[in-house]
């Protein structure tokens, strides 16, 4: 009998408590697979934790599904909203459409702080240092010299009580950051099931880091708990975006096992939703393939004038048969066809030669039949001083006047150059933004190791509300899971494109010279000091100097004898 009671209690403890009313948080794991028209396969993992609690320090003292390490940092630094992405590779907007989460290459972080934070800069510095430890990323290199507070580009995505004030926002990008296993492991540890169960078992570093593009993301915000938005919940989305190239393989077929090296073992027991979605919109138009096993359900989603076909696999129903695999078998030979290009995409590059001066050019392509309003945020590091009076925005040979312009000149070693423009792009046009810049000469100790490799410059961010949802995959602002993007037609579809990050080679001094330079320059100073000192302190006299050595010797002897005489006297 006693054993029976123990058993009941322990069963309650193990299974009952997580679902009891005391715990008010939920965990969902989802995977979206989308074959792209270019022959790539886009895999997007999203692990969502929703916690029905207010955002304050007390909340994070006890956590259940929410990662405590991250929660404590968020609570201590009074962060309202936090977005981190660690990315390797460049998302090709022109061919791949839009990802669920946009991320620039390297590390990118932005955060909204609470209104009662008094010194945002200090809080920001200490937040990034803490996160650097948590994710094993070089986020500790974020400081005021590479952070900015853009006014228009980044708006809070969660709920806000008052109109947002961008002085509580900080944005920074570290394009030099290299994303690797050391970032993936701590990322997986934040998940409730770690990488032991559920979809996270698919995240094997060997397969992830072989992709054309991979991006880890952490997105934290407050969302409405109910329709009236009387209470708020905390939402944490951990995302992994991967782009695989199937065209280089022998066959175009792909499967979970081929992409991730392992089949799906089962759902995470703590997850309330555990789904795999396969976007079949392009099936039978661009590609022709068969899915095995066939999905539980097929969903047709209408969104922004676009129809989307999705196959949905609920892992729970499949996993009772043990490990299983989802495969797409192509019935036609390899294809890589051209689809409609994305509505809006951009390129950035540097023109000019030599290490003295150049121009930064950002090209914005608008393929829509209507004009588009976009926000262009240029984040220019302090070692590339730009001249605002040389800004040129040219479209079809004509100069365009920006609707709004914000500029804050940078300061050496303390502040980047911040330029934000609101532009109206004419329909079917290529708009070229250009600005002239100088290459700064730095102190010899400020150059990184391998100085001639160059300096990275973070991407420009282009924000726009697209009128149609072509190639659009992102979730609506009010949604938390991938399911919320089905049939989610809205007035506009927010995209935040990141351009290429650039490598700039600054002129370098000779690093082996410090002693020589100090000596030589001081010699020049001494060359002036000596004669000037002589001229000002001495007077000219005529002196006999043509004596030969015999006379010199004689006079020396004479003087000696005279001295001895004087002494004897």
């Amino acid at each position: 009998m006693r054993y029976l009671i123990y058993l009941v209690i322990s069963t309650l403890l193990v299974y009952g408590l997580p679902y009891s009313t005391a715990q008010d948080d939920f965990f969902d794991e989802e995977l979206l697979l989308k074959p792209l028209a270019s022959g790539h396969v886009y895999a997007y993992f999203q692990f969502t934790t929703l916690w029905e609690a207010p955002n304050n320090v007390q909340t994070f003292q006890h956590s259940h599904l929410f990662p405590r390490g991250l929660g404590e940092i968020i609570g201590r630094h009074k962060v309202d909203e936090l977005h981190i992405s660690l990315t390797e590779g460049l998302w090709n907007y022109e061919k791949w459409g839009y990802p669920v989460h946009d991320a620039g290459s390297g590390a990118e972080i932005f955060a909204w702080f609470n209104k009662n934070v008094s010194n945002v800069n200090n809080e920001w510095k200490s937040l990034t240092n803490a996160l650097a430890g948590l994710f094993c990323a070089s986020l500790n290199f974020v400081d005021s010299s590479n952070s900015m507070s853009p006014e228009f580009s980044f708006r809070p995505t969660g709920i806000v009580k008052e109109p947002p004030n961008s002085s509580y926002l900080r944005y920074s990008s570290l394009p030099r950051e290299i994303v690797c296993t050391e970032n993936l492991t701590p990322f997986k540890k934040l998940l409730p099931c770690d990488s032991k169960r559920g979809l996270a078992t698919l995240l094997n570093s060997a397969y992830i880091h072989n992709t054309n593009y991979h991006s880890l993301g952490i997105h934290f915000r407050s969302v409405c708990r109910n329709a009236g938005c009387t209470k708020s919940s905390l939402e944490l989305r951990q995302t992994v975006s991967l782009v695989y190239d199937t065209l280089t393989e022998a066959t175009q077929d792909w499967s979970i096992r081929k992409l991730f090296g392992i089949g799906i073992k089962g759902a995470c027991p703590l997850a309330s939703l555990s789904n795999v979605y396969i976007d079949m919109t392009s099936n039978e138009t661009v590609h022709v393939y068969q899915l095995t096993p066939s999905p539980n359900t097929k969903v047709t989603s209408f969104r922004g004038g676009q129809q989307q076909q999705l196959a949905v696999y609920d892992i729970r129903t499949y996993s009772n048969r043990g490990m299983f695999n989802i495969a797409a078998i192509y019935t036609t030979p390899k294809t890589s066809s051209v689809t409609y290009p994305s509505v809006l995409y951009a390129n950035r590059y540097i023109i000019g030669y030599g290490q003295e001066r150049g121009s930064l050019v950002t090209k914005l392509h608008n393929n829509h039949w209507q004009s588009l309003d976009v926000i262009l945020l240029e984040n220019i590091p302090w070692y590339l001083p730009v001249y605002l009076h040389t800004v040129k925005v040219i479209c079809n040979g004509q100069q365009i006047k920006p609707l709004i312009q914000r500029y804050m000149p940078g300061r050496e070693r303390t502040r980047p150059y911040y330029l934000e423009l609101v532009l109206r792009l004419p329909p079917h046009s290529v708009t070229k933004f250009s600005i002239e810049l100088d290459y700064l000469f730095l102190k010899w100790q400020e150059y990184p190791p391998d100085a001639n490799h160059g300096f990275y410059m973070g991407p420009a961010v282009i924000t726009a509300l697209l009128p149609i949802a072509r190639n659009y995959t992102a979730l609506p602002l009010d949604g938390s899971t991938i399911t919320s993007s089905f049939n989610a037609s809205r007035n506009g579809y927010l995209v935040q494109l990141r351009t290429e990050s650039l490598l700039i080679s600054l002129p370098t001094p000779d690093f082996s010279m410090p002693y020589n330079v100090v000596c030589l320059a001081c010699t020049a100073v001494a060359l002036a000091f000596g004669p000037l000192h002589n001229i000002t302190t001495k007077r000219l006299v005529l002196k006999n100097v043509t004596r030969n050595w015999k006379k010199k010797l004689l006079s020396f002897v004479k003087r000696l004898t005279k001295d001895t005489k004087d002494k004897t006297d």
Partner: protein
């Protein structure tokens, strides 16, 4: 007169031709011509920011004084590009004209002084004194001073490169002219304006005071007090006017602070850029301080005491020292003090290093763009090459300065004791003791 006019016409034509040619952008982008302090591109940026309602001193690109900002914004507002070019040329020509008048007054003064000195000497000594008389060289000097200014390639490049040094040089010429005219107000005003822009010209107050105070010891103290007071009043007024224009004192950090602390390490013809690029961080302040003392303070008193009889030569030495050792020197500064050289044509005979110095200057002028191209564009050389050239250029200028000062000392000696170098029939050597 005809010669002078043709010189002016030629100089104006050369400048106008170069300004309208494609070489203009090439010249204006040269680091030797445009520095952080005088580049017209940075002025344009500052004016643009000011007009856009952004404080130009919040950035790192604009370092002119607020009064300069006001003047340049008026220029850019009302003048077309061509009119602007013409304004630069006219200012340069006016500088040369003022220099010519200065030289004329100074030569008259030198001749008078020489006469006086000779009359004090015993008759037989004065007779065998065969030093070159100032009287013989005066007319040539008066012609050569504006000609050297107008046709000096350094000055031509400076004017074609549209640097603000064109206006500073104008103010320098005005200062020298008003000093020699003994005009308290004008000399103080121009020195105050120059001080606000470049800080180092404040040293010119010493020759100005010596000139204006004169030799009369009774009125001397009053005159000194008067000129210093006038200068301080004008400087404070100008500073306050700057504050009134900008609405804050932030400009001080970006003008005077920028000159003193040397944060900009873009190469120029001076010694600072590579020195502070390669500096160990914990020694930076020590060397910044010692370099600034070297250019600004160290030589003021000794030279003033030594050259108190010839304040114009004193002003020349201060200008030369500043052009060699200041934090952001440019070719315009070098060209300006070189244009004054013909005023001491009677000293040339006593100079020894003329050939070496001119060779140095010539080679540096040719080598600087070459090694710059190799370093920055073709990457087949490194920074040391350019540093070597700037170092040689500075050393050549130092030789020039010390040579002319030695020559003045020697001539003084020769006037008193004759040119013969014999003591009791034996050959002797001139030595500083």
């Amino acid at each position: 007169m005809k010669k002078q006019l043709s010189c002016f016409a030629l100089a104006g034509a050369i400048r106008l031709l170069l300004m309208t040619s494609d070489y203009q952008t090439l010249i204006t982008d040269r680091v030797e011509v445009s520095t952080a302090l005088n580049s017209w591109k940075k002025v344009t940026e500052g004016v643009y920011l000011h007009n856009a309602g952004i404080d130009p001193y919040s950035g790192e690109l604009f370092h002119e004084s607020p009064i300069g900002l006001l003047a340049f914004s008026l220029m850019q507002k009302y003048l077309s590009i061509f009119a602007l070019h013409v304004l630069f040329i006219i200012t340069d020509l006016a500088t040369a004209w003022i220099l010519a008048s200065t030289a004329q007054l100074y030569m008259a003064e030198l001749i008078a002084r020489e006469k006086e000195e000779k009359s004090q000497l015993p008759a037989e000594k004065a007779k065998d004194n065969i030093c070159i008389s100032v009287r013989d060289t005066a007319s040539a000097s008066i012609l050569y001073v504006p000609a050297t200014y107008l046709l000096n390639p350094f000055i031509v490049l400076n004017c074609v490169g549209l640097t603000t040094t064109v206006f500073t040089n104008f103010l320098f010429a005005l200062t020298l002219f008003s000093i020699i005219r003994r005009s308290v107000f004008w000399s103080c005003l121009s020195i105050a304006l120059l001080t606000l822009q470049g800080l180092y010209p404040v040293t010119l107050m010493v020759p100005a005071t010596i000139y204006i105070a004169g030799k009369n010891s009774q009125t001397c103290k009053v005159a000194v007090a008067k000129i210093i007071l006038t200068f301080l009043t004008l400087l404070v007024t100008l500073l306050y006017a700057s504050y009134y224009i900008m609405g804050s004192w932030s400009f001080l950090w970006n003008t005077i602070g920028f000159i003193l602390i040397v944060p900009d390490l873009r190469p120029n013809i001076g010694l600072y850029w590579y020195f502070f690029t390669e500096m160990f961080e914990h020694f930076r302040w020590l060397f910044v301080a010692s370099f600034q003392i070297n250019v600004g303070l160290l030589y003021i008193v000794p030279l003033a005491l030594r050259l108190r009889q010839d304040p114009m030569l004193l002003a020349f030495s201060y200008l030369a020292i500043a052009a060699i050792f200041k934090s952001y020197p440019c070719l315009g500064d070098v060209g300006f003090y070189m244009a004054l050289l013909p005023m001491w044509k009677h000293l040339f005979r006593h100079m020894q290093q003329g050939f070496i110095v001119s060779c140095f200057l010539l080679f540096c002028t040719v080598f600087a763009p070459t090694v710059w191209h190799q370093w920055i564009y073709s990457r087949s050389a490194n920074a040391n090459f350019y540093f070597g050239v700037t170092l040689a250029f500075a050393v050549a200028q130092i030789f020039l300065l010390t040579d002319i000062l030695f020559a003045s000392v020697k001539r003084e000696f020769a006037l008193r004791y004759g040119l013969s170098r014999e003591v009791n029939g034996n050959k002797a050597k001139l030595l500083l003791e």
